[in-house]
């Protein structure tokens, strides 16, 4: 008896120590407390721009403001002129292609297709002035639009189709005297409306992010940390970190969760191990387009229908366009579950002039590279935007149509509604051949989701992925995942063995009972 007690006590102790060792963890306090301290400190601006005499004189053009800015900020213009916000492109190395200056000038998307020939209207989201169809100087510092990013009065706005110039109603003096670090509104005015409307492109960046609730985004929540964009998108010399892979290709200068949260953010070791292969966003952005719908499909092939010779629009109950004569038909989605892909931080792109290899399947315009076996790859959540857009079946080139013009007769699709004319003029503008034939091809774009981070309690849990049915990762099949995956052979063979054991035991037991009863009866009879 003593022995039993002693060995029980020893094993109990061993068990307790094991459990203790296994569940103990080192909490990274320093990072978190540093962050808290930083957030609690009020930012103060070292200068009061309203006191500068240079900013008192009446500005009559936005260029005058810029010229005044750079008299003091005398190195800033050079920084800006080398930034991708100004150039609309980045120097990127793409496997198999070499060094490419990748940007809006040579990439094609499956929303409004491209900016080429449409600069006047697209320039509403360029940090410059004077962007007309041809001859914009990317080296003239006078054309830098300082105010669009640094206005802290929330009153600056660019005019429609003015080549990037501010709306005439804007009070340039007042704004120039109240400049500062960019707020959410400075970034959001372009980045929330990309593609010609709220939340058309990203899905996770839209107008609800101007003043988000905690449900929409834990970091930017006005009731919480109230982050501005540049809190995470840290900036050195006007080079803003973070970029989206719709228009970038290399794994560099990214804004990451780890820069604050480290790569071991969880108390649980097994969760930390998940970060080897799973991006933070995968679990912590369980849904996107939480407040307003995002565009998920765009069919250009239906564009051009007119009513009484006039373009028209059809809206859904939320006020989103489902049909526009100038653009075609759209599908929208709200509170969407992301799609999931492997991603190693590099991407390939369809560039203007590339020949489509296989027209029978959807053409991916920005292929995100990655796989389970690739050591840099992690699973990330994406929004997939699907479209049907024009291509030339003879040359197998995607078509850059001329879309916008001031008036009819210049071939612009949005005025003349003639695909062939728009394609002819548009392709001529970019010096590419056009056979005269137009067909529509299905295309896909992958938009990594990084915003609308949910609170801890709303993040994914184990069984969102680790489950037989409806796993979030049902589409990623290049690896074995516990609970989702099994070998049908082993499971069915195993189950058969177990059931046969039960059956055998049951049959044997029954026979024993029956035979023993018979024996007893026999013995009774003998008596």
């Amino acid at each position: 008896m003593k022995k039993i007690v002693i060995s029980l006590v020893i094993l109990g102790l061993v068990a307790v120590t094991t459990i203790g060792l296994l569940s103990s963890h080192v909490v990274e306090q320093s990072q978190l407390s540093l962050l808290r301290a930083r957030l609690e400190k009020k930012k103060s601006i070292p200068v009061d721009h309203s006191k500068f005499p240079e900013l008192q004189k009446k500005f009559t053009s936005p260029q005058q403001v810029t010229e005044t800015c750079i008299t003091c900020h005398n190195k800033t213009a050079d920084q800006v002129i080398h930034s991708n916000h100004w150039n609309w492109e980045r120097e990127e190395y793409i496997q198999g292609r070499g060094i490419v200056y990748l940007g809006k000038k040579n990439a094609i998307n499956n929303f409004c297709i491209g900016v080429e020939g449409n600069e006047q209207s697209c320039a509403k989201c360029h940090i410059g002035f004077g962007m007309t169809a041809k001859g914009f100087s990317f080296t003239d510092p006078k054309n830098i639009d300082c105010l669009v990013c640094h206005d802290n009065t929330e009153t600056y706005s660019k005019g429609n189709e003015m080549g990037g110039a501010p709306d005439p109603s804007v009070d340039l003096n007042k704004i120039a005297q109240n400049v500062g670090e960019p707020n959410r509104s400075n970034c959001g005015v372009c980045h929330f409306y990309g593609g010609g409307g709220n939340n058309v492109k990203h899905g996770d960046l839209e107008k609800s992010m101007f003043e988000p609730t905690r449900d929409i985004d834990v970091h930017m929540a006005t009731t919480g940390p109230n982050f501005s964009c540049v809190e995470c998108h840290t900036t050195v010399d006007h080079n803003i970190s973070g970029k989206l892979y719709s228009l970038s290709s290399m794994n560099r200068n990214r804004a990451t969760c780890e820069q604050c949260h480290t790569s071991n953010p969880h108390d649980s070791e097994i969760l930390n191990k998940h970060t080897y292969k799973i991006a933070c966003q995968t679990c912590h952005i369980p849904v996107y387009a939480k407040e307003n719908a995002t565009k998920v499909a765009w069919d250009w092939s239906t564009a051009g229908q007119l009513k009484d010779d006039k373009p028209y629009e059809v809206d859904d109950s939320d006020g989103n366009h489902t049909y526009l004569s100038i653009k075609g038909s759209f599908k929208w989605g709200k509170n969407l579950k992301p799609d999931y892909v492997w991603f190693n931080g590099t991407a390939e792109h369809y560039l203007l002039g590339d020949t489509i290899k296989d027209v029978s399947k959807p053409l991916v315009l920005n292929q995100l590279n990655g796989s389970y076996l690739d050591k840099e790859s992690k699973i990330i959540p994406v929004k997939i935007h699907r479209a049907k857009q024009p291509y030339d079946p003879v040359t197998r080139l995607l078509i850059q149509p001329k879309l916008f013009a001031e008036k009819k007769g210049e071939g612009a699709f949005w005025k003349d509604f003639d695909w062939e004319k728009a394609a002819e003029v548009g392709m001529k503008d970019v010096n590419l051949p056009f056979s005269g034939k137009i067909e529509f091809i299905q295309t896909e774009m992958y938009w990594p989701l990084n915003h609308m981070v949910s609170s801890k309690d709303k993040s994914l849990t184990c069984t969102d992925c680790h489950t037989r049915d409806n796993s979030r990762l049902a589409g990623l099949n290049d690896f074995y995942m516990p609970a989702r995956d099994y070998s049908p052979f082993i499971d069915y063979a195993g189950l058969t063995v177990v059931l046969l054991s039960f059956a055998g035991v049951f049959a044997h037991g029954t026979l024993r009972i029956v035979s023993s009863r018979k024996r007893k009866r026999g013995m009774n009879n003998e008596k």
Partner: protein, 223 residues
């Protein structure tokens, strides 16, 4: 005549019951991790499964030491002798109230069929489970984390072995639990494993003569 013999020593009984509890617990948590039951919650199942696995490994280390220190490992040396008659007993004799073909004793507590099955468990199934389980826990995701020497690209094969072993253990337990009832009386085996004592027939019988040749030691002890 029948003697009360101390047949299972305290550590042996403790090891047996601890192992029983752990296997049941590992099966429950394991099949939850496998995605076929839902009881503890997935995260808990994973955590508990690991903790139970470590306890099991410690138990195994103690048990191995015990087996060699006491020489009890010899109990598991397989023999073909009487294997046939043991099988015949389970298939035929048991229904006719025939006596057990082999006698239980301190030096030979396992019948030939038990020797074979337990040995297979000890050298095939349990090692498979321990090794695949440790690989499952410590394998390195492709080129990241974990132990550098264990740079395994996929846990597919590991998981399949671990699952197959689990099914085998489950089948073993079902049959084992049933065969507990096939002792001298329905509960005699169970009582023996709880108290350590079992009433063992030491009378000279027809079967004893056969086993005399092979189990001389047993005879000595019985006398």
């Amino acid at each position: 005549m029948k003697n009360k013999v101390y047949i299972y020593r305290s550590f042996e009984r403790f090891w047996h019951w601890m192992q029983a509890i752990l296997i049941f617990f590992l099966a429950a948590t394991g099949f939850e991790i496998h995605g076929v039951i839902n009881f503890f919650g997935y995260a808990n199942a994973v955590k508990y499964h690991s903790v139970a696995a470590y306890i099991f490994i410690i138990l195994i280390v103690f048990a191995i030491f015990w087996h060699f220190a006491t020489g009890e490992w010899k109990q598991y040396v397989p023999t073909l002798e009487h294997l046939r008659s043991q099988i015949d007993f389970y298939l035929v004799g048991i229904f006719r109230n025939a006596p057990h073909p082999t006698k239980k004793s301190v030096l030979s507590k396992l019948n030939p069929l038990q020797k074979l099955v337990y040995l297979a468990l000890k050298i095939l199934v349990i090692p498979t489970m321990v090794i695949s389980g440790l690989l499952y826990m410590f394998y390195r995701y492709p080129q990241k984390g974990g132990i550098e020497g264990l740079n395994i690209d996929s846990i597919n094969v590991i998981a399949l072995f671990h699952t197959a072993g689990a099914f085998l253990l489950l089948a073993f337990i079902i049959v084992h639990l049933y065969l507990v009832t096939t002792g001298t009386t329905i509960t005699s085996n169970l009582k023996a494993m709880i108290t350590g004592y079992e009433e063992i027939e030491t009378e000279e019988g027809s079967n004893e003569e056969k086993s005399n040749k092979t189990n001389l030691k047993e005879e000595v002890v019985n006398e």
